[in-house]
């Protein structure tokens, strides 16, 4: 029964097209979450610190690694949907490191890192939507519409967040904001294409 529902989840088109690839995506999210949690808790717990030092040599090395993984995740959330569609999983890959970071530090605020992840996630979700629209059979286009609905929500979330973070000095030429803005522009053009195509 439990196995069945797990299999059902892997078939969910919002997560991905092919079961094997979807599970790779889920395992990735799970692994980076564990690493980030381990890295944070190692600062407090002697036991976890010893574990970290056995595996990574020193805590600083794990911390460098998780920071790089956060950057990699931002780009993976754009690459994943090209490989396997799945708007929700694509966006999750981009946002998860920052949400887990918030969770372990017990503090949440919309800041530039998270916004960049969300912008990349929006582009990822839009790419997934576009690819689903291109290939889905039949005139109901159920998967496309679900994907489109999700993508529009996360896109508007990212857009407003980006403006909010830059309320005072909007678009100071800073790498994060420029990337974020470009991600959104590309993402929106995919979405507009799909909307014109199906409505």
């Amino acid at each position: 029964m439990k196995e069945n529902s797990l299999l059902e989840l892997l078939r969910q088109p919002l997560l991905g097209k092919k079961k094997k690839r979807t599970s790779v995506g889920i395992v990735y999210i799970f692994s980076i979450s564990c690493l980030i949690i381990l890295s944070n808790l190692s600062g407090d717990s002697e036991f976890l610190l010893a574990l970290t030092e056995t595996v990574f040599g020193e805590l600083d090395r794990l911390r460098t690694f998780t920071i790089i993984l956060a950057v990699v995740s931002v780009f993976l959330s754009i690459i994943y949907p090209v490989w396997n569609r799945g708007p929700v999983l694509a966006a999750s890959i981009g946002i998860t490191p920052f949400l887990v970071g918030s969770l372990v530090s017990g503090h949440f605020v919309i800041e530039m890192d998270l916004v960049l992840g969300a912008c990349a996630g929006s582009l990822g979700a839009s790419i997934a939507t576009y690819r689903t629209a291109k290939t889905e059979e039949g005139n109901r286009k159920k998967d496309t519409i679900n994907s489109l609905v999700f993508s529009s929500g996360i896109t508007v979330f990212s857009l407003i967040s980006l403006f909010r973070v830059y309320q005072e000095d909007i678009f100071e030429v800073e790498t994060g904001a420029v990337f974020g803005f470009l991600f959104l522009v590309f993402g929106l053009s995919f979405l507009v294409y799909v909307v014109l195509d199906i409505l």
Partner: protein, 224 residues
């Protein structure tokens, strides 16, 4: 003829209905997305427009810093290496607490909505009382990972004096982008809360590239 016309109409009606449903769903999703983005609290990136004056940027590589045991507060933060502790960044803000407590200082930082204990390297400072290197009492940064750069502080309290190392991290790789701008930001943050700061209040002679001139800001409680 009639028959197929009726069918078309029916199909058209159904398509209209589906289209309306879709638009409704998208509208709902847009509404939810906006509501979330507007309701969560957002961190305003600290504005770097008011730059540190150029006179503060003279780094004298030959200056001989105060020794750690000369002062109650720390002079450097250290990295623990196999060969021992190695100094990395200079302490650049000092709080002689007097009638305030160290937690009052931390409260000002916390009110900035920073992430406590973010993803950062482990650094130590020298405690002359116990003659040991200590981990920070509190650390905080604008962002948890700082993949787009961030302001980052580490705070220690020794003998009733707060020692703070503040710097701007470069995106992702966390090289030091600036000590001077960070020191200035901390001064501005505390002045806004009514504290009184002497910008180059004490000369620790702990000059450090890229832009630390060897002096620490001294911040005291304001006269109320």
């Amino acid at each position: 003829m009639n028959d197929s016309g009726g069918k078309n109409e029916e199909e058209g009606g159904e398509r209209d209905f589906r289209r309306r449903k879709t638009i409704q769903k998208i509208g709902l999703s847009l509404g939810l997305g906006s509501a979330m983005a507007l309701s969560l609290s957002a961190n305003q990136k600290i504005d770097l427009a008011h730059e540190e004056t150029s006179e503060g940027k003279t780094v004298n590589p030959k200056s001989s810093p105060l020794s750690e045991d000369e002062t109650p507060f720390a002079v450097w933060q250290y990295e623990k290496k196999e060969s021992g502790y190695e100094s990395t960044s200079p302490i650049n803000v000092v709080f002689p607490l007097e009638n305030r407590s160290f937690s009052d200082v931390l409260d000002v930082f916390k009110a900035k909505d920073w992430y406590p204990y973010p993803e950062e390297f482990v650094r130590y400072a020298w405690d002359r009382e116990s003659q040991e290197f200590q981990k920070p009492d509190w650390t905080g940064a604008e962002a948890y990972f700082g993949i787009t750069g961030r302001l980052h502080v580490r705070c220690w309290e020794f003998e009733g004096v707060g020692s703070v190392q503040a710097h701007f991290d470069s995106p992702t790789f966390h090289d030091i982008e600036s000590y001077a701008k960070a020191r200035q930001k901390i001064v501005e943050i505390f002045e806004k809360q009514g504290w009184v700061a002497e910008y180059r209040g004490i000369n620790l002679r702990n000059d450090k590239k890229p832009d630390h001139d060897g002096t620490a800001a001294v911040i005291r409680e304001g006269g109320r």
